[in-house]
Amino acid sequence: MLSMILSQAANGLVLGFLYVLIAVGLSIIFGMLGIVNFAHGAFFAIGCYLALTLGDMFGWWGVLLAPIATGAIGMIVEFVLIRRLYDKDPLVSLIITFALALFLEASLRALYGAAPQAYNVPDMLTGFVIFGPVLLTKYRLFVLAVTVLALAAFWLFLNFTPFGRIIRAGSRDGEMVGLLGINLPVVFSFVFGIGCLLAGLAGMLAGPLWTVNPSMAGAAIMPAFVIVVIGGLGSFAGAILSGLLVGLTTAMTIQFAPQWSGAAMYILMAVVLLVRPRGLLGERWERFE
């Protein structure tokens, strides 16, 4: 039984990391732009479809381009639509991004059809790795490694580069940053693009494991929201911590009480919010008070 629990925990952590990648983008878009982006799952789906399309056209280099292309699409969407929502009521951004999610899903359906697309694990990443009692597939280890690297790179970028400091400062007091002569709209476009890039990366990685169809966003967006809420809105570290907690909780519930597996993360969210209404690592943000 111990080996089973360890294997479940390892698989739960991999799932959790994938959720984290989706949730971090959602979290930074909310934390820095104040937008509750219901269309985030659609960018996850776009990343997956782009990986499929660009992979067919250019091979592996094309697959690697998919997250960047998703980020670029995100910046265009920010320029055309999202920046008009910054000074509006949060409810407006919620409704508009919900409509955007439906529109993007319908666009994918119009372009690719509703039927799922075949997208499998590449041959070089098939097979297993066994660590004592723990069994993991090579592809899941690859997902784990890419996710950890991407999150580490993003954290370093935010904390140790001048642009990262501008982003963090802009999220707390945009007016002051603007008065210092910094072009804040460009910064915000970039932030939205980064968030979409992370969602696109998650879509690219999830494609070989999940069903690739225009509705795949739905499977990503709800766990992402739960993770952001549990971790604390806008908290990078909180999203990571809660993503891993959600992955572990889901895996352990499937092992011991499978009938509760669908509800497990929502129960976890309810418990956390009862104890810490701001989420695990949520802070007090003046602009949202």
Partner: protein, 422 residues
Amino acid sequence: MDDTKTGNARGLSRRQLLTTAAGVGAAGIGAQLLGAPFVNRAWAADPIRIGMLWAKTGSIVDQAEYLAQGCQLALEQRGNKILDRPVDLVWLDEPSPQGAQQNAERLISEQGAVALIGGAMSSLALAESAVANKHKVPFIAPNAAADSLTGSACNPYTFRGQPPVSVHTKVLAPYCAGIGKKWYLLTAAYAFGQDIADNFRHYIEANGGEVVGADSVPIGTPDYSSYILKIRAAQPDVVIGGISASDLTTFLKQWKELGMSSKIPFAEIAVGNTDLWGVGAQAAAGLYTLTWYYKNPDNPADEQEMAEQYQKKYNRPAADKTWMGWFGMRSLLSSIEAAGSTESGKLVKALTEWKVRRNGIDVTYRDFDHQMINRLLVAGIKPKITDKWDFFDVKAELPKTPADIEAAYGTEAQSACKMPTI
């Protein structure tokens, strides 16, 4: 300043005008693709309206697209008219059982639909069936398999095309028992999955086998690795699946990824071709029941012709769901023609009398439960797939004889349906 030159003739700038026009255009396209009714109309005067309820969002949307296209094709084959009147096919979404009921109400009350066809999933079909019964409007459910639709929840206005779970089970279970007697059940947490779990458990326990594990899986589960680890530990001879559409696709991809497809056989009833096409040639595996397959050499001539027309129109092969939509719609259109009317009572009577000869048997809706009587295909995945559409080897078409068919579908005395009279 001359306002007309700057685009401000009515207080609207050119920029605002262009933005508004683009917004209206985009919203129109969005509405067309999503919420608003899609109306496939033949010509203007005095149309007959038929309501279609197929999912436009959610896990079953891939199958629903083929079902809808099959319905449209059946109508096109008749020149988009019936009783010398044009036909409007009005398509609304079925996002959830509640949403399906609301849209069924809209189709009947607002659009004046004389009949409904839809219910891509059993839970949706059951919800729509209740509305059809309330409004006394005939409802064809070509795809739903839950036993109760033509069993305990039957009603005079609901007609079902898909054989129920119990019939699929009787066809596939002997094949599974031939592989081994230790079964693991992995089924969805709604009517279809629960019926599969009950039927297969009953079969194997009555035939000297055992269920070594059973999990009920929420719809839309994105990661099955934890379930697969449990199955791996239980070491069954066969895994019986009861998860549908994109959930099945996700499961099979992860089943292969975790190296199980070459170790433990997987079997499931009533799958869709699209579920396996989405898995891809590399990961597809298993033993299944299907209602139809485009490469089955025994398909009658009219079905081969339909498949050719579909291929020509959509540049891809017709799926089993295309056939189910087409066959269900054909039964409805033929019945309207036979009734010479769209009046509900006459239409119900015509549907119960509708009959076509197919591969040596009379395919009909039974009068006592409105279940269509038809055969099924048992099919396995080809050992080597060379065509990205041609995945299945058809092993048998069952039940074979009329006596076998009656035994599989059960008699009126065995039926849970207590059909009230109209």
